[in-house]
C-alpha cells in the first residue's frame, strides 16, 4: 500500500507538477496562472480564506471544473490541458492515474454501508484485488469504523462520515492525496483527532496536500505551508518559520 512504505525518500521524485493552470466555473476565473510542484513523501498545507480557490484547485486537478487550461502532470503523465466543457468526464481516468480526492462536505453515498463505501474506494484494479487487507489498514487508522461496517453511511454522525470519506480516499493506491478541509464542520476535538490521524499516515512514495483555513491545525505537522490568495499561491514557508512569524504578529 502506498502509504505504508514509511521510509524517507532519497531522490526527489515529482508527484505533481502544475504549470500555468487557470480554471474556473462558468464565466468566473478562480485560479490564475498557478504553478506548483509536489515531491514524493511531502505533506503540504495550503492555507487561505474561503473563496480563494483551494477547493477549485483540487477540482481542477481532478478535472471537475467547468473549464481549465494549463499543464497538470501527475506522476509525469499529463492529465490537464485545455478543456472548455464536460466537467468530470475524465475524472475517473485521473483517479486511475493515482489521485485520491477527499472532497469538502464528504460526498458520501447515503444508502451504501461503510463496508461498501470502502470497497467503492478501491476501484482501481490493483486495489480491488487486495481490498480486504486494505480495509484492515483503514480500520487501524480509524478504529471507530470497525463496528459500523454494515451501517448505512446516511445514519452516521458528521465525524464518522468524515472518517468514511477519508477512508474511502485512502483505499485506492493513490500517489497524490488531496484532502479538502478535513476539520470543517466538526467539533474542535473531533477535528483535531481526524487531523492527527491524517498526520500519522505514512506517505512513503506518495504525497499529501491538505487545504485548511485553520493554520493552527497544521502548525509543525506538515513539511511546507503555502498561502493561497485570490487564485494564486502566495509565499511558502516551512512550518517552523510559519510558526515563528505567526507568533511575531
Amino acid at each position: 500500500m502506498a502509504f505504508n512504505g514509511g521510509s524517507a525518500v532519497s531522490e526527489r521524485r515529482e508527484i505533481l507538477n502544475i504549470n500555468g493552470l487557470s480554471a474556473g466555473w462558468g464565466p468566473m476565473r478562480v485560479i490564475h496562472d498557478l504553478d506548483l510542484v509536489v515531491y514524493a513523501g511531502e505533506r503540504i498545507g495550503i492555507v487561505g480564506l474561503n473563496g480563494h480557490g483551494k477547493s477549485t484547485l483540487f477540482s481542477a486537478i481532478a478535472g471537475m471544473t467547468d473549464w481549465q487550461r494549463g499543464s497538470i502532470k501527475l506522476n509525469g503523465k499529463e492529465v490537464g490541458g485545455t478543456r472548455s466543457q464536460g466537467p468530470g468526464r475524465y475524472t475517473h481516468l485521473v483517479v486511475r492515474q493515482g489521485l485520491a480526492l477527499m472532497p469538502q462536505g464528504d460526498e458520501i453515498f447515503t444508502g451504501l454501508t461503510v463496508e461498501e463505501h470502502l470497497d467503492s474506494g478501491a476501484f482501481t484494479p490493483a486495489a480491488w484485488r487486495d481490498r480486504k487487507a486494505r480495509k484492515e489498514k483503514i480500520l487501524e487508522i480509524f478504529p471507530p469504523l470497525r463496528k459500523l461496517m454494515s451501517t448505512p453511511v446516511g445514519r452516521l454522525s458528521g465525524g464518522e462520515r468524515r472518517m468514511v470519506s477519508l477512508g474511502r480516499g485512502l483505499m485506492s493506491d493513490a500517489s497524490l492525496l488531496l484532502v479538502d478541509e478535513p476539520s470543517l464542520g466538526l467539533a474542535p476535538k473531533i477535528g483535531k483527532g481526524v487531523m492527527k490521524a491524517l498526520m500519522e499516515i505514512q506517505l512513503g512514495n506518495s504525497a499529501m496536500i491538505i487545504a485548511e483555513q485553520n493554520m493552527a491545525l497544521l502548525e509543525g505537522q506538515v513539511d511546507r505551508v503555502i498561502g493561497m490568495h485570490v487564485g494564486k499561491l502566495k509565499g511558502e514557508a516551512s512550518t517552523s518559520l510559519a510558526h515563528e512569524s505567526r507568533r511575531e504578529v
Binding site: A62, M64, Q85, G86, P87, G88, R89, T91, H92, L93, V95, R96, L101, P103, E107, I108, F109, T110, G111, L112, E116, D119, S120, G121, F123, T124, W128, R168, S172
Partner: protein
C-alpha cells in the same frame, strides 16, 4: 355485485410483476444517469419484434424466445445510450435535452418498425406451454403463472447482481451520488452502458411477457411506457422498493377496475389513483428523488 377475488388477485399479481419490471427500469435509469428515458416504449416494442423474429427463424421454445427478447432489449438500450446519453450527458440542461433526444429516438424508431414490419400485429407463440394449476377455486393459467415466475426470477437476479457484483456497486454508487462516483474512479459513460443494457433487458422481458396477452405492433410500446413512467413516479423515482409497492397498487387497481367497471375505465381510475398518491406524498411512495439528485 360479486367480485371474483381469485381471478382479480392473479391478474393483479401478473400486472404488478410486469409493471414492476418496467418501472424499476425507468427508476434505475433516472437515478443513475439522470435520464428520463422516453424511448423505453420503443425498446419495449423492438424487443417484441426481436422475440418474434427469434420465434420465426430460430426456435419457438419458451426460454429461447424470452432470451431473444431480453437480448434485443439490451441491444436497443445500448443504442439509446450511445445516441441519447453519451453525446449530451455532460452538457448544460441535460435532463430536458436527454428527454427530448430519447423521445426523438423513440419516434424515429417506431416509424422504422412500421416501415420494416408493416402495420400488421404479430403474435408470439405461447411460451409457457399449456397447463393449468388449480389453487382451491382459483385457476392459474400457464401464461399468467409463467409471467409471474419469470419476472420474479429475473428481477431477483437483476437486483441480486446489483447488490453483490462490482458493476452493481458502481451503478448503486452512481444512483446515490454521481459526483462522488466519478471521484472514486467510476466512469460515468461506461456505467451508462451497463445501466442501459440492464434496463433495456428488463424492458425486453416485460415485452415478451406482456405479448402473451397483447399483440406485438410498432406502437405497442406507448401504453407500457406511460404505465412504467407513472408507476415509477408514483413509487418515487430512484427507489426500487417504492416502484414495487406502486406496481402492486396499480396492478390491483387495474384488475379491480376491469372486473367491476370494465376495461375502458382502467386509465381513468389509474391516473386518479396516481394523482391521489402524489397529492398525499408529493415525492412518491418512497420519496427520495430530491435527496438523490441534489449533488
Amino acid at each position: 355485485m360479486d367480485i371474483d377475488i381469485g381471478f382479480v388477485a392473479i391478474t393483479a399479481v401478473t400486472l404488478a410483476c410486469i409493471y414492476g419490471t418496467l418501472a424499476i427500469g425507468v427508476s434505475i435509469t433516472w437515478s443513475s444517469l439522470g435520464l428520463i428515458n422516453m424511448s423505453y416504449g420503443f425498446t419495449f416494442a423492438t424487443s417484441g419484434y426481436g422475440a418474434w423474429l427469434v420465434s420465426e427463424y430460430i426456435s419457438s421454445s419458451g426460454p429461447v424466445v424470452i432470451l431473444g427478447g431480453i437480448l434485443t432489449g439490451a441491444l436497443v438500450g445500448v443504442l439509446v445510450c450511445a445516441v441519447a446519453f453519451i453525446p449530451i450527458h455532460d452538457k448544460p440542461n441535460f435532463t430536458v435535452r436527454g428527454l427530448i433526444a430519447s423521445l426523438a429516438l423513440s419516434l424515429i424508431g417506431t416509424q422504422a418498425l412500421l416501415y420494416f414490419f408493416g402495420p400488421q400485429s404479430k403474435t408470439l407463440p405461447p411460451l409457457f406451454g399449456d397447463w393449468e394449476l388449480e389453487l382451491g377455486e382459483v385457476v392459474l393459467t400457464a401464461d399468467k403463472g409463467g409471467a409471474i415466475l419469470t419476472s420474479i426470477l429475473m428481477l431477483t437476479l437483476a437486483l441480486w447482481w446489483m447488490r453483490s457484483s462490482r458493476r452493481g456497486l458502481e451503478i448503486r454508487a452512481m444512483m446515490m451520488n454521481p459526483h462522488a462516483a466519478s471521484l472514486v474512479g467510476i466512469g460515468v459513460r461506461r456505467t451508462g452502458f451497463y445501466v442501459m443494457a440492464l434496463t433495456g433487458g428488463l424492458a425486453g422481458l416485460a415485452s415478451v411477457l406482456l405479448s402473451q396477452t397483447y399483440f406485438v405492433s410498432p406502437f405497442s410500446g406507448v401504453t407500457p411506457l406511460i404505465k412504467g413512467l407513472s408507476v415509477a413516479l408514483c413509487g418515487g423515482l430512484g427507489s426500487v422498493g417504492g416502484a414495487m409497492i406502486a406496481a402492486v397498487m396499480i396492478g390491483v387497481n387495474e384488475a379491480l377496475t376491469a372486473d367491476i367497471l370494465g376495461g375502458q375505465y382502467i386509465l381513468i381510475t389509474q391516473f386518479l389513483l396516481i394523482i391521489l398518491v402524489l397529492i398525499i406524498r408529493p415525492r412518491g411512495i418512497a420519496g427520495i428523488l430530491d435527496k438523490q439528485r441534489e449533488a
